[in-house]
């Protein structure tokens, strides 16, 4: 199976790989895994007082499509409000990267990661 050029680009030059300070109360962490293939993804977002995502970092242990999905996601969420970021659908990621049907679960994983990161941030803010 051939990867699309967009997948290859993100795979070879992944954007925003890394971590943010977990002890920072404005940082939310999402950790999700895909039962279909065993790929795991960690996404961290830093949120400003205005509810806008200032920074995003990811680390994905998985296939090229999973890495590309999370890399693209970090590009998309930066500058978005939490509400906007929560609206991102896996189908948009799959479409942008031209993922084949067998790799749709990679985009599902990325959508799960941002939702889980937002949840974590909101939990932290309550405390």
């Amino acid at each position: 199976m051939a990867y699309s050029t967009k997948v290859l680009d993100h795979y070879e030059n992944p954007r925003n790989v890394g971590t943010l300070d977990t002890s920072d109360p404005t940082v939310g962490t999402g950790m999700v895994g895909a039962p279909a293939c065993g790929d795991v993804m960690r996404l961290m977002i830093k949120v400003g007082d205005d509810g806008v995502i200032q920074d995003a970092k990811f680390k994905t242990y998985g296939c090229g499509s999973a890495i590309a999905s999370s890399s693209l996601l970090t590009e998309w969420v930066k500058g978005k409000t939490l509400e906007e970021a929560a609206q991102i659908k896996n189908t948009e990621i799959a479409e942008e990267l031209a993922l084949p049907p067998v790799k749709i679960h990679c985009s599902v994983l990325a959508e799960g990661a941002i939702k889980s990161a937002i949840e974590d941030y909101q939990q932290k803010q309550k405390k």
Partner: protein, 179 residues
């Protein structure tokens, strides 16, 4: 003769399930050596070489059977796919398009990070220790899945199978390393 009866059954139009194809009980805890032996026997019978002078119809039937037997063998020999297939037979919803979260996943990410740092440090001892640790966890999980299928606890078996997939992936990553 067992093989001949087997062959007659094999060319019957009704498709048996993968277990029946190898005359094995429909259960998670199968004898994998017996599976491999029966697989080889059937492959000998349906091998294309035996159908050089056969009609097109028979040749096609033999070819289809070869494909089916190959696929069934691949599915049954691997505990993960065997379990998935059993759930399918029991009509348990086994949608894998969701995401896994929680403590189990936290632990998996820790293990992935540990493996990554071992790989970077190129410590072979640490790597083989890590691999055998993961292997033990896989064995434990497989034993647990076996018990869950025996007790017909299919939802629990489904959960454990998902966990097995993560450990298998981790194991493959650990094995896939050359210095």
């Amino acid at each position: 003769m067992w093989l001949w009866r087997k062959f007659q059954r094999l060319i019957m139009p009704i498709t048996p399930n993968h277990f029946e194809l190898f005359d094995l009980p429909v259960t998670f805890d199968i004898n994998t050596e017996l599976l491999a032996a029966r697989y080889r026997q059937i492959q000998q019978v349906v091998h294309p070489d035996n159908f050089v002078n056969a009609s097109d119809k028979e040749r096609l039937a033999a070819l289809q059977k070869t494909t089916q037997v190959n696929e069934a063998f691949q599915i049954l020999k691997n505990p993960f796919t065997r379990g998935q297939y059993l759930l399918e037979l029991y009509k348990i919803d086994n949608e894998t398009l969701g995401v896994v979260k929680g403590d189990f996943l936290l632990h998996q990410i820790d293990l992935r990070e540990e493996l990554e740092s071992i790989k970077q440090s190129e410590q072979l001892d640490a790597l083989s220790f890590f691999t055998s640790r993961v292997d033990r966890q896989i064995q434990t999980l497989v034993a647990q899945i076996n018990q869950q299928f025996e007790q017909q606890a299919y939802q629990e078996a489904k959960q454990s199978l998902q966990q097995l997939q993560f450990f298998k992936r981790l194991y493959d990553e650990a094995m896939d390393f050359e210095i």
